[in-house]
Amino acid sequence: MGHYIIRRLVISIPVTFGIALITFILLNVIPGDPVALMMKDHISADVVARVRAQMQLDDPAYIRFFRFIWNALHGDFGVSYKLNRSVSSLLMDAFPNTLILAISGALVSWIIGIPAGVLSAVKKRSFLDNSIMGFSLLGVSIPVFWAGLLFQYIFAFWLGILPVSGFDGPEYLIMPAIVLGWSSAGTISRLTRSSLLEVMRNDYIRTARAKGNLELKVVINHALKNAMLPVVTVMALQVAGLLSGAVITETVFGIPGIGRIAVNAIQNRDMPLLQGAVMFTTVLVILGNLVADVLYSLLDPRIKYD
């Protein structure tokens, strides 16, 4: 297992480099000038020319790329054009907020999704099953921004029991976590349902029932553990995805996380910040995948990595 993990980590080095290169090329191909954008309506040709030279933006692209790689290898991702702070500190400051949101969102989706999937499978083709599947379809289909505004309207404006926007305490987390969790709860519940139905057809389930076990015990102890394999994979990837920033949720609820930073960086052609954010999320997704694979083998002893 140790060898496997090391091998995977080594393979991730060229992947990371490749992504750095692709991001850099994309940023240089799309039109846009960060200095013109910083000055917007107060544009002055002389100032743009001078500041571009001062920021070394006029150097050839390959020199800028290798300068970025060289500095990144030394742990220096540069300074954000727009926010004037070091990219590393910006990402490190935003990451805890994204982490808290991601974990809460994921927890909500698991707490709703898994039991809902189990109930649906146990009561398949019943009214309850249809209602739960309908509800999860709604969660998957409703755009997050719309669900966000709807929740804000009901809980903040109408009932006045939750804060509208910001990130000043646990109560600020309730709406974004539910909105975020609801959308992925749909996926989790549908996956749990289909996987559980598949497992419930196996002989060992019939055996478990024949032994006189309670249905709940059969489902939870015997079926669910095996049915969870594909669900765990999705869960691990889901967390990795959420960690790269739930852009829309962060915008609607005013949460200062990675997603908002990345989107602002794209809008502002803030190359150092965007490069840093992409590198950061790349590493998270690679690690998320690795964790999913490792969990897989822990849950299913038949799967071995050499």
Binding site: I30, P31, G32, D33, P34, A36, L37, M38, M39, K40, D41, H42, I43, S44, A45, V47, V48, R50, M55, V79, S80, L83, N84, R85, L90, D93, A94, I112, P115, L119, L149, Q152, Y153, A156, F157, G160, I161, P163, V164, S165, G166, F167, D168, G169, P170, E171, I174, L214, E215, L216, T251, V252, F253, G254, P256, R260, N264, Q267, N268, R269
Partner: protein, 538 residues
């Protein structure tokens, strides 16, 4: 089975309900005591005015300037002494001698001296600063050499004594005083700013000014907290401070205001909501409006055929029913502008002939110009600008009536500004409000040869350009204004270089507990909160 279902339900739902109930009790953290809460759409990134050309809310509250532009009545401004208690200008308009107040303390306790002014202006022009706002000071003698790295100081700035500083200009520049009253003229403390290095304008504890508020904390993309400065030289503010929330979503902003989480809501950002507030019993008396020294306009790119033909540009001016746009889209909150200067700007000419709405005459002009069946025209705007799209679509329909087929293209902001600065951006709707109250801020900004190119007008009237350069240096204000009024007719009406639309009123809705709120003369939502009061704690 029934029992099992119950247990699963209790496992899932009870914690959620409990968490919601317990935590919701803490949800009402509205603006407390004597703190004002406002919002901005994006994080300013820095409060160092030398490194930004917009987002001036914090700078206007934590720094002061030698001269200040204050709002004396709606839409009217006046230059008054700020950190300089008085000044003299030499008859040739070249030398400015400022007498600095003796009783001004920076937030770190240091006393303001002339040397701080020298340091601040030199820092702006020092190439190491990578400043974006150098345009406001580049008329000082020796500024160019300093910016080009050919000199280690600015020859035109001299400290006479601790309270006197002399600034000499390379050539006379009539709006110099007004220039110094812009946020770019904010004065820093040499010691604090040098010690802070790159952290100046970023680290609240290291960002030192003389202003009525001090920076207390800054949670990026979340909240900036300013607290009142009890030692402020004009007396401590009557409020304890200001919470500036960063709220990117317009709808979220509105809900926050209506639920009492914000004290001030800028209604002008969402014109469609004007009737909603104006017709609402609860809010209609809380709307504060004021004319602004600024205007909406259409920029026309003369490099794109057939806009190089003045008859075509005049036809476009006459094809747009501006009064209808103003009434239908902005609920009549403003007034038409027929030239370049909006009402309230120094030298505004109310006698300027009106640009009439006359589609018939427009058709004649198009025929004369060789386009009896009209032509295809592109109007560009940034994506995510629903208000601009509305006005563009209305204009598209109006121009259709004279045969001009408009295609509206939406591009992202970065591409928009990058295309514009190389002179290739097609016609577009935009707005401008004054940085300083002087015609130069409108005429030179748009129609001087070099600015006309980077703003994609490509208006090339060399005679006008020479007059614009001359007007900047004129000392006789009466003659100068006369020249601007003459140029206004040439540029906007004879040459039809742009399509002026209207000067809109700026509307804010303010919670009843906030008193003394007034719209800044230039209509900026970035404003000083110094004069505000709170009459009742929530």
């Amino acid at each position: 089975m029934n029992k099992n279902r119950k247990s699963i339900f209790s496992f899932v739902l009870i914690p959620i309900i409990l968490a919601t109930t317990v935590l919701s009790g803490c949800g009402n953290s509205a603006s407390s005591d004597k703190m004002i809460t406002t919002s901005e759409i994006s994080d300013p990134g820095t409060t160092d005015v030398q490194k930004t050309t917009s987002e001036y809310t914090i700078p206007l509250n934590i720094y002061d300037r030698l001269v200040e532009a204050i709002t004396v009545s709606p839409g009217k401004s006046e230059l008054v002494p700020g950190l300089a208690e008085s000044w003299e200008v030499s008859p040739d308009g070249l030398k400015y001698t400022f007498h600095i107040r003796k009783d001004v303390k920076f937030h770190n306790g240091e006393i303001l001296k002339a040397d701080d002014v020298l340091y601040t202006f030199d820092r702006m022009l020092d190439p190491a600063t990578k400043a974006l706002n150098t345009d406001f000071l580049d008329m000082i003698a020796g500024a160019k050499d300093r910016m080009d790295g050919k000199a280690n100081s600015v020859s035109g700035i001299k400290v006479i004594d601790d309270n006197t500083i002399e600034i000499t200009l390379a050539k006379a520049f009539a709006p110099f005083l007004a220039n110094l009253a812009t946020p770019a003229g904010s004065i820093y403390n040499r010691k604090a700013t040098t010690e802070a290095g790159e952290q100046f304008g970023i680290d609240p504890q290291k960002t030192i000014g003389t202003g009525p508020f001090k920076m207390k904390s800054w949670a990026l993309n979340d909240t900036v907290v300013l607290v009142s400065n009890p030692d402020y030289f004009q007396g401590a503010p009557k409020i304890d401070g200001v919470n500036i929330k960063i709220v990117p979503d317009a709808e979220t902003n509105r809900i926050m205001f209506e639920t009492g989480k914000l004290d001030i809501f800028n209604l002008s950002n969402s014109a469609s909501q004007i009737p909603q507030f104006r017709d609402n019993e609860k809010w209609k008396n809380s709307i504060v409006s004021g004319p602004i020294v600024g205007l909406y306009y259409y920029a026309l790119n003369e490099d794109i055929k057939p806009l190089d033909d003045v008859r075509i540009r005049k036809a476009l001016q006459m094809s747009i029913d501006r009064q209808t746009l103003l009434d239908k889209l902005y609920y009549g909150e403003g007034q038409l502008v027929h030239g370049i200067s909006p009402p309230g700007l120094l030298g505004y000419n109310p006698e300027l002939p009106k640009i009439e709405y006359n589609p018939e005459k427009a058709k004649q002009l198009l025929t004369e110009a060789g386009y009896p069946n009209g032509f295809d025209m592109e109007i560009v705007q940034t994506t995510d600008s629903p208000n601009t799209l509305k006005i563009n679509e209305a204009v598209q329909a109006m121009l259709q009536k004279v045969g001009v087929r408009v295609k509206i293209t939406q591009i992202d902001e970065s591409t928009y500004f990058a295309t514009r600065q190389v002179g290739k951006l097609p016609s577009n709707q935009n707005e401008w409000s004054a940085d300083y109250n002087d015609p130069d801020n409108f005429f030179y900004t748009f129609f001087s040869q070099k600015n006309s190119k980077v703003r994609s007008y490509n208006y090339n009237n060399l005679e006008v350009n020479a007059k614009l350069e001359k007007a900047r240096t004129m000392v006789d204000q009466t003659e100068r204004i006369k020249l601007y009024q003459e140029m206004e007719k040439t540029i906007a009406q004879e040459d039809a270089a742009w399509i002026p639309l209207f000067a809109l009123n700026q509307l804010f809705v303010v919670q009843p507990r906030v008193k003394n709120f007034q719209v800044a003369w230039n209509g900026w939502s970035s404003m000083s909160y110094y004069g505000l009061e709170i009459v009742e704690a929530k």
